[in-house]
């Protein structure tokens, strides 16, 4: 047994270690050390809790070891086997678990207030009084956000995993329904704090679960990077709510860190798509509303090339910038792509990669996919760092990306993607564009880049085409 003061100090240490874990991510070199700090922080928090509130019976210890073992085993297995393309689903699944854990911890506190120090215990009789009002408020916020995060994440998971259509599903009068549920939630939080009746606790849980699902269902697949980031933020706020209930510094600090982290990522994603956070939340984007593309445009001629042409052009180039998109990952072309880049480098060509913030299905996703294919991270550049370099490069090689290269985002005010920051690929000497066919991109917008004089379309599967180019480069 250690004193509560020592425990508080140790929780503070673990909170500080979590800050260092995030701090390490400012650079790939320090990131691994940061992750280690995070693990140590977690270890300290767990050991401290077991030391300060050591269970006295063997059943509790059995459950604790069993729970850690079962959960840890499942988690380790998932971490080991997940494909990098499926990372957004995994993160969504993890968010849902944080939400659910918050709900269950709050419920446990509700039924055993003495163990959580949130009710007055008469020292003489051992009689447990009603739960403090303040704790009830914190708990109800924690449980509401947690439950919301759970169902929201489950829907996001289903959409990302393809169990559910990525198209926005629009329910009639949904805004009115959301507002009614929201108001009802506030009323129930008030009722719970006034009465302490568990019934209200469960009603809050149920309504928040329903609201989480309803809020995410109308949001289209294109906006999922924002949704995943937003749910990241909510899982943090839920944790912080429980942190207040427990009076635990580590949990409060972590909740604040995660909450602001998710909020910043949502902001970055919204900005990268030129969408306001509100319009993402309201949903409905990314369906078949691509009416802005005039049908007549499709008849314009496009220049078409073969793998040999592409190989010849790039072999003789001084500088090639590769623009990968999610289509590259779907086609599993990243390894062939790196092979191609290696061959080009042997020919003395400078090769760089340009990444749009929404190139993948979650923030930074494309960087992970390239890293997995052994692309060195110092060859990979973010949009704002490389956009001016297209003008000085001979070839822009677009593979599996579309909307993020569309110049009409800069010029066409009627385009749904107008104002979205795009990669200036059209400034390069030649644009090589690998694509299956002439279909529009994710946002349902026709890309006028295809009809430019300096664009050569390479029709085919991204992986096959890249492999053919590799073969042609070998000769």
């Amino acid at each position: 047994m250690i004193s509560a003061n020592i425990a508080a100090l140790l929780y503070l240490v673990s909170g500080a270690l979590f800050i260092l874990a995030l701090r390490g991510l400012s650079n790939p070199r320090s990131a691994r050390q940061g992750n280690l700090f995070g693990m140590i922080g977690m270890g300290i928090a767990i050991v401290t809790t077991l030391a300060v509130a050591a269970p006295s019976d063997w059943l509790s210890w059995l459950l604790i070891i069993g729970g850690l073992g079962i959960g840890g085993g499942i988690g380790a297995y998932m971490a080991r086997t997940v494909k990098m393309t499926d990372m957004p689903q995994l993160v969504a699944a993890f968010h849902s678990l944080v939400g659910l854990a918050a709900v269950f911890v709050a419920a446990a506190a509700l039924y055993a207030p003495a163990a959580f120090n949130i009710a007055h215990v008469d020292p003489a009789t051992g009689h447990v009084g009603p739960i403090h009002m303040q704790a009830l408020i914190e708990m109800s916020l924690g449980v509401a956000i947690g439950a919301f995060t759970f169902t929201g994440s489950v829907i996001a998971f289903a959409k990302l995993n393809g169990n559910m259509s990525g198209k926005p599903i629009i329910l009639p009068a949904r805004h009115a329904i959301h507002i009614i549920i929201g108001v009802a939630l506030i009323g129930l939080v008030w009722a719970l704090t006034a009465t302490g009746d568990p019934l209200y606790f469960w009603l809050i849980t149920i309504l928040a679960l329903v609201l989480g699902g309803l809020m995410i269902i109308p949001i289209g697949g294109a906006d999922m990077p924002v949704v995943v980031s937003m749910l990241n933020s909510y899982s943090g706020w839920a944790a912080a709510g429980i942190g207040f209930t427990l009076g635990n510094t580590a949990l409060i600090i972590t909740g604040a860190l995660v909450g602001s982290s998710g909020a910043i990522l949502s902001y970055i994603m919204c900005k990268a798509m030129n969408r306001s956070f509100i319009s993402v939340i309201l949903g409905g984007f990314g369906g078949d509303s691509g009416t802005a593309a005039a049908a007549g445009e499709d008849e314009r001629p496009v220049k078409q090339g073969a793998a040999e042409d592409a190989a010849f052009l790039m072999k003789n180039a001084g500088k090639v910038i590769i623009v990968p998109g999610y289509g590259m990952a779907v086609a599993q072309a990243q390894h062939a792509l790196r092979e191609m880049a290696d061959l080009l480098k042997q020919e003395g060509v400078t090769v760089k990669y340009a990444i749009h913030p929404v190139a993948g299905r979650m923030p930074g996703h494309m960087n992970v996919l390239l890293a997995e294919a052994n692309v060195p991270y110092d060859e990979v550049f973010e949009l704002e760092d490389i956009n001016s370099e297209f003008a000085q490069s001979d070839v822009a090689f677009v593979i599996g990306a579309n909307d993020v290269t569309n110049p009409s985002a800069k010029t066409d005010k009627t385009s749904p993607i107008y104002g979205m920051p795009v990669l200036n690929v059209e400034d390069a000497g030649t644009v090589l564009f690998i694509k299956r066919g002439m279909a529009a991109g994710y946002a349902g917008v026709q890309n006028e880049l295809f009809y430019r004089d300096n664009t050569m379309m390479l029709f085919g599967d991204a992986k096959k085409m890249t492999e053919e180019i590799v073969k042609a480069l070998g000769h």
Binding site: N27, L63, V258
Partner: protein, 100 residues
């Protein structure tokens, strides 16, 4: 003078941590935004401390098996996240290599 409710000290920690989070997260390189999400997932599972308290409730004294059961469920979920989150982050970070 009245004594200050501990809540306000907690609130102070919370607000300051939001500021710390704000500055730390902006300094994270965009290339590591995916590991950032997985590691925030892992650390937010420090909610496990609540689960451990609940699992450890003394049945005779607190008389509550409901809390114990809920705590156990929360413990399993949080453990999935802790191990899964840190390990998948480690796996991703190991892939980031410099030119050489």
């Amino acid at each position: 003078m009245d004594t200050i409710d501990p809540f306000f000290f907690q609130l102070a920690i919370f607000v300051l941590a939001i500021f710390v989070g704000y500055f730390v997260v902006w300094s994270v390189t965009p290339a590591l935004h995916t590991p950032l999400m997985s590691v925030t997932n892992a650390i937010s599972s420090v909610i496990v401390v609540g689960a451990l308290l609940a699992v450890g409730v003394h049945l005779a004294a607190d008389g509550n098996w409901i809390s114990k059961a809920f705590g156990f469920i929360a413990l399993v979920f949080a453990s999935v996240n802790i191990f899964g989150g840190f390990l998948v982050t480690q796996r991703m970070l190991a892939m980031y290599k410099k030119k050489g």
